[in-house]
């Protein structure tokens, strides 16, 4: 009987990124990835025409197979170590099997479940409202997030980036980045409380 692959952990991923084949980022970006993607497009005869959502089951299957082969044949690049992380198809399938099938977001009366919809189910997707990483001024932060949290159709909150903290720019790789992040979290929670939904997922 064939052995069943275990799903990889983030630790194994890191170890592989230390010992994989070394290539420059330039070669990865401009040669390896585009060449492989083009070859797989031709191999699997993938063309979308003018459709937005495919209705042909065979096209969906070929696209999935092409994506799987892309990952397994090319791997994933770690820009820090400049090395390629390799995985097998069995490991990818183990990762799919191990992935959660139902996740609770938020708590108590504000919780929602994210679970497979399978096609266009009559159950709507979870609605996550927020600035989606856009910059928000410090003074406007709480009322703006409240404007999302108070919408009944919104289930969870996605954060924006607070432009300053205490008037100082929360620049990357400075202590103000940490201060800004923590200030954002407190402000988002305060906005949810003001909207009467204190346990929304943020």
């Amino acid at each position: 009987m064939a052995s069943i692959e275990k799903a990889l952990t983030v630790y194994e991923t890191y170890l592989r990124s230390e010992r994989g084949a070394k290539v420059t980022e330039n070669v990865w970006d401009n040669k390896i990835v585009p060449n492989a993607a083009l070859a797989l497009k031709e191999k699997y005869d993938i063309s979308f025409g003018d459709e937005f959502i495919p209705t042909d089951p065979d096209l969906k299957k070929r696209l999935f197979q092409a994506g799987m082969e892309m990952l397994v044949s090319v791997g994933i690049y770690n820009v820090d170590t400049e090395r390629i992380i390799r995985v097998t198809e069995d490991e990818v399938r183990a990762g799919i099997r191990a992935a959660p099938k139902r996740v609770q977001l938020g708590e108590y009366g504000d919780k929602v479940m994210i679970e497979p919809r399978k096609g266009n189910s009559s159950k709507k997707p979870v609605i996550q409202g927020g600035p989606t990483g856009a910059t928000v001024s410090e003074d406007m932060f709480i009322p703006m997030i409240q404007s999302y949290a108070q919408e009944p159709i919104v289930d969870t909150i996605v954060n924006g980036v607070m432009a300053t903290v205490g008037g100082v720019s929360s620049t990357t790789n400075t202590p103000f980045e940490i201060m800004g992040t923590l200030a954002e979290i407190r402000a988002v929670r305060e906005a949810c409380v003001r909207a009467g939904r204190p346990y929304m997922a943020i």
């Binding site: 952990t9 959502i53 892309m70 799919i96 099938k101 399978k118 709507k124 159709i153």
Partner: protein, 216 residues
Amino acid sequence: MIAGWKHNGDVIMVEQMPILGGYIGGIEETAICDVATTLTSFTLLNAHYHLDGPIHVRWGMTTSRETLQVAGHVAAAIDAHTDLLVANQFYTIAGPCTEMCLFEIAAQALLDTASGRELVSGCASAKGVSEDCTTGMEARMLGEVSAAAAGKDVDDVNALMKKIVRSYERQYLTAPQGRTFQECYNVRKVLPTKEYLRIYDNASETLRELGLDLPN
């Protein structure tokens, strides 16, 4: 970071935004890479769910015809062959308090819902690059259209999307920046202005006429 989140028992969302028109190439090539990187999130990075966001290299939006095609095909392929939890995020080129912004959101909400995504996240209006150019009204449109789209026939959704996308895709060069949050909300009461409510109602009425069952 992921190691820390794992030990804390946190819900882990892995985000990745494939760039259409960059070094990967065209629509289909970008979609192939998007499937691969979606699978990577669950294989190598122990994600609970994956947040996608195919984005246009020139326009900086997820709501262009081409990036919608990438997102729709990838979600449908993942949905048909796995039970992974997948999400998508919204970047419109037009800003708040404009019909164009609301139509862009409607198009992507239709797409993401009908292609089987489990979570939709937005919206970074005005490409997410202008300070305070985002408001809760855009999330209202996102949510109401998603609810109306759930369960609709995919062929009908494709036909509806063609009409909506056609209505805005010639206006990218002149896309309206829209208003800031403080310009289109009463900040103290956290309520949208009459102007924004009127624009929202107009956009909703147009979408109803196209066949979407939106609340009145």
